[in-house]
Symmetry: D2
Subunit: 134 residues, 4 copies
């Protein structure tokens, strides 16, 4: 992948709180939507297998306030592809400025045993195509 | 049931929006929590059968503003017990005043066929115990 | 307005619940986003005045299940323009079928007095342009 | 403060997603509720001053699945009290086991200038009472 994938969205009224700004949990929702759109763009699907990818870590840092109806771009990159885990990094960009950054780590888990398993080879090859190592 | 069941809760910061008040979708979340607590109180469970109860209708009317950290009581009653459907009615009470009212209708649906079925007799008998007809 | 405004969106993972379907509160969030986009399309703004438009009623009826990643269109119409209040009606359309319908009523409220006031004439004229009476 | 404050709550249906587990963003909502209850317990209030405390960082790590209706305790500690910032740490405990951990950092910000300012002395003294340094 030549450069990070970007997904454009709007801050909705329901995403705000009484501070007048976005509630930070909505940032994570936008990160998740961007991840879904990244997978769609590259036609990567993993929801029908015998495994899934629960999130084991999530983080965000907020630099600038985001307000109702702000138009933002979420930039998303797969930055680490481990044996069982993947790390995705995110930027929320508003008017050319980074308003927030974040990351999630997800682990390939066997649905039955509920244990971490290596990412299946075929799927790993697909993820490798979108890897952008730091 | 002699009188309506009441569930006490707080409006959380995440429930508010940039108007400084509760976002009305959070009212429905509180209604749902009250319904769960009503079922717990009467030891009614239906989550492990071959059917479930999707909601087919929801409504609310807002009379008074609800703010962050307001302590409210949600009053919940089963007011109609049909062949396949049930109607629950709700009041959100703040300082003795009704701040909002609402209702949901749920239908007994066979998980496999995804069609409405009569509420099983044993379960209907349990629901009948908590019915408060208008 | 010749015909209802339509806003396209996706059901996100966070919008689902353990039933595997959308949680109905997320329908209201999509209705709200559609309303915002309708106002943008017609360049109607009312957020900086001495009044606002709190919602006093909301309702929805669900006909078909909506699932993660479903592409839906939200159709939104202003169907009643009263002295102080407005009614917006919504349809959530999936693959050409109506999956859900809904409505919200909002009231023009003076920010200071927190009382209903007539919709200001200039704004009313703008709303009248998008009115589609049943 | 002799020991961490604990706030008990339930995982609600709306907190789950189509994986059948809690959506991780709901963990942050529970962390926030626990923080509010901690402040209530110690009668600390800061919402009416000329400053507020926006969050600049949030993180969580998930160890065990949390399901609908699970009863959990959120343990919350103030673990760092800087000149302008504070770090709160959280554990979500289910049946005696740590299901998730997390942290948020908030910064004292002047409402007008939107810049970080030192935490006012009187308020700092109150926070110091609940500080549990690692």
């Amino acid at each position: 992948m030549a450069e990070p994938f970007r997904y454009e969205t709007r801050i909705r009224f329901v995403d705000t709180d009484a501070s007048g700004r976005i509630h930070y949990t909505s940032l994570f929702k936008f990160f998740e939507a961007a991840e879904t759109e990244l997978f769609r763009e590259f036609d990567i699907s993993y929801t029908r297998g015998t495994f899934n990818f629960p999130r084991v870590h999530a983080e965000c840092d907020i630099q600038l306030p985001l307000l109702h109806d702000d138009l933002i771009e979420i930039e998303v990159c797969l930055t680490k592809l481990g044996r069982s885990s993947m790390r995705f990094e995110f930027k929320a960009i508003k008017g050319g400025l980074v308003a927030a950054t974040g990351a999630v780590i997800m682990v390939c888990m066997d649905r039955k045993s509920q244990r971490a398993i290596p990412i299946p080879d075929e799927l790993r090859a697909r993820f490798a195509e979108i890897l952008i190592e730091a």
